[in-house]
Amino acid sequence: MKVLIIEDEQELSDSICQYLADENFLCEVAGTFDAAIEKICLYDYTCIILDINLPGGSGLDILKELKRNNKTDGVLIVSAKNSLNDKVYGLKAGADDYLSKPFYLPELSARVAAIIRRKTFDGNNIVSFDELQLNLQEKTATVKGKVIDLTRKEYDLLLYFISNKNKVISKNAIAEHLWGDDMDLAGNYDFIYSHIKNVRKKLIQSGCQDYIKSVYGMGYKLSYQIAPE
């Protein structure tokens, strides 16, 4: 799966590349408007991460160019301009999603994964990790065919973890994913802890491994241990 990162800040595109590379994405980077236009004309990408402010032009024009050429690449707009207008305009122009800077890489990764799922697995709404299967349509989780009774937040949390498997996700990133950034929960992580505790309990009760590990109070990580005890 090829992902194009159109972003003028090389440091940022490097980080995104590095993070996404582990998810079996093949990342390419375009740092300017012209380079981006050239790349989208020559190749097809599963997903394009698009910055609005670019040297040489606006990311929105790239989006229009894509639509004019009837390209079906998924587009995630990433912009420092955290304004509703930009968001509305971008989504109207055919972008699939919008994320404002500064974002969390797990969030970006999850959004990219969601776009790719929508674009590529038509009709197939199952995301799986080891024995765990999530049905995106019905928003349910099953282990070995048995449904786990999850709340909406717990389901979101599991999907977020699976989209970022084997990655350490910080508590802040989890909080922002579940509650959005406008609730201002700074410093209050107790309820994240209780949510994760519940998910883990439910997973263990349904007979699968304790996939979610705490990482030194920094965050959590979903991983599969090859040799379970």
Partner: protein
């Protein structure tokens, strides 16, 4: 005190003082002059008597003249000098001016007293007094009318400028225009006001642009730092202390990023980027927001009392959501576990109260940017500034009160 009132007071007081002084002076001068005149008349009378005596060596027969009496008396002791004095005669109400002298007639000394009534002089002095009083009264009325009409008209441009200035708001972007007045002083004042308000606007805009640019420019570096930290976090061989350091750095970064977003939001509201208004069912929005916060409240065992009546407002929906977010976050963050939150909404307004720190907050500083009395590390001191800014932009008023150990924030519609 108003300018005109003050001016009137000075003006009237000094006019009255001058008039009274002038009246008194005039009264005495007139009195003195009239007495001198009277004394001269009496001396003419004396001369006539002396001439008669010199001619006939006998006293003339007293002639009855109105308001005049001449009395002769044998004198054992003649007056050494002639003497003027004012006396009262019991039979008559009026004062009399009397000249006493002695004269020798037919070898005998006679004491002569010539009296003239002062009635005429009294009438004149009374008239003067009356005229003075009338003039003062007229002066009062005249000053009043002059102030009412002419002075008011003269000062009209000044009050007009004052009125314009009163409606000046530095955030409104409206440059002040003062009309030409035709009076140099007012023109000078107006041009000075125009210049200084324009400067204030310019400075304000420069500050706003700076905040906006600074926040914008900060976003990319913040994004880079955060992404780099998340990349580092994925490292296989990190020690616990390295994770702890990463965690601290990440929290500081979050705070910075949140502050930056708040500043951006403030400039956006100032720039009227939330101008589009619609009819918002505030009660529904409030219930939805409360549901979002429920988890957070349950987690801290906060008791929430909701008293919500249907209210619709014509406002920007996004701003109201932000307002509720900030109010709710505030009431939650500055609460203690097992505390209480009171939310009531009706046609008059929205009140959010919470238990918390038992000291009232300063009403004057509360809504200022970066005011953080508790020095709480989880708050950046911008929440209340945002609340006020949103209220100002939406035409609402926000008030703070501390009663019954509750911090109350009221948004008046």
């Amino acid at each position: 005190m108003k300018l005109l009132e003050k001016y009137n007071r000075f003006n009237l007081l000094s006019t009255i003082a001058v008039f009274i002084l002038a009246g008194v002076a005039f009264y005495f001068a007139l009195h003195f002059t009239l007495l001198r005149q009277m004394d001269e008349d009496l001396m003419i009378e004396q001369r006539e008597i002396s001439n008669f005596v010199a001619l006939h060596d006998s006293l003339p027969l007293p002639v009855v003249v109105k308001d005049q009496q001449i009395i002769y008396k044998h004198a054992t002791q003649p007056f050494k000098h002639k003497k003027f004095e004012t006396i009262k005669i019991p039979a008559d109400d009026d004062d009399y001016r009397q000249l006493s002298f002695s004269i020798m007639a037919a070898g005998k000394w006679y004491n002569v007293k010539v009296l003239k009534s002062l009635e005429g002089t009294d009438i004149i002095t009374h008239s003067v007094f009356l005229i003075t009083i009338c003039t003062i009264l007229l002066m009062f009325i005249a000053t009043f009318i002059i102030n009412r009409t002419i002075l008011k008209r003269l000062w009209q441009p000044f009050y007009h400028s004052l009125d314009i200035l009163q409606h000046f708001k530095v955030g409104s972007q409206q440059r002040l225009q003062f009309p030409a007045t035709g009076i140099d002083e007012f023109n000078f004042m107006n041009s000075t006001l125009e210049r200084s308000t324009a400067k204030a606007l310019q400075d304000y805009n420069a500050l706003k642009v700076f905040t906006e640019n600074a926040s914008h420019e900060l976003q990319t570096p913040l994004a880079i730092i955060r992404s780099k930290m998340e990349v580092i976090m994925q490292g296989e061989n990190l020690s616990e202390s390295q994770f702890a350091a990463l965690q601290s750095a990440s929290e500081a970064l979050n705070k910075l990023s949140r502050m930056n977003q708040s500043l951006l939001l403030l400039t956006k509201i100032e720039n009227e980027q939330f101008a589009s208004k619609s009819t918002v069912e505030t009660d529904q929005l409030l219930i939805k927001k409360a549901a979002q916060f429920k988890e957070l409240w349950d987690d801290r065992q906060l008791q929430v009392h909701l008293d919500i009546k249907p209210v619709t407002l014509h406002v920007n929906k996004e701003l109201v959501e932000l307002l509720l977010n900030n109010l709710f976050s505030n009431a939650t963050r500055h609460n203690y576990n097992n505390g209480e939150i009171f939310i009531s909404l009706d046609k008059q307004g929205l009140t959010i109260g919470n238990t918390g720190n038992n000291t009232p907050l300063s009403k004057t500083h509360l809504f200022q940017r970066f005011y953080n009395p508790s020095n709480s590390s989880t708050s950046n001191g911008l929440g209340l500034a945002i609340i006020r800014q949103i209220c100002e932009a939406s035409g609402l008023t926000v008030e703070y009160d501390y009663t019954d150990n509750k911090h109350l924030f009221t948004i008046l519609f």
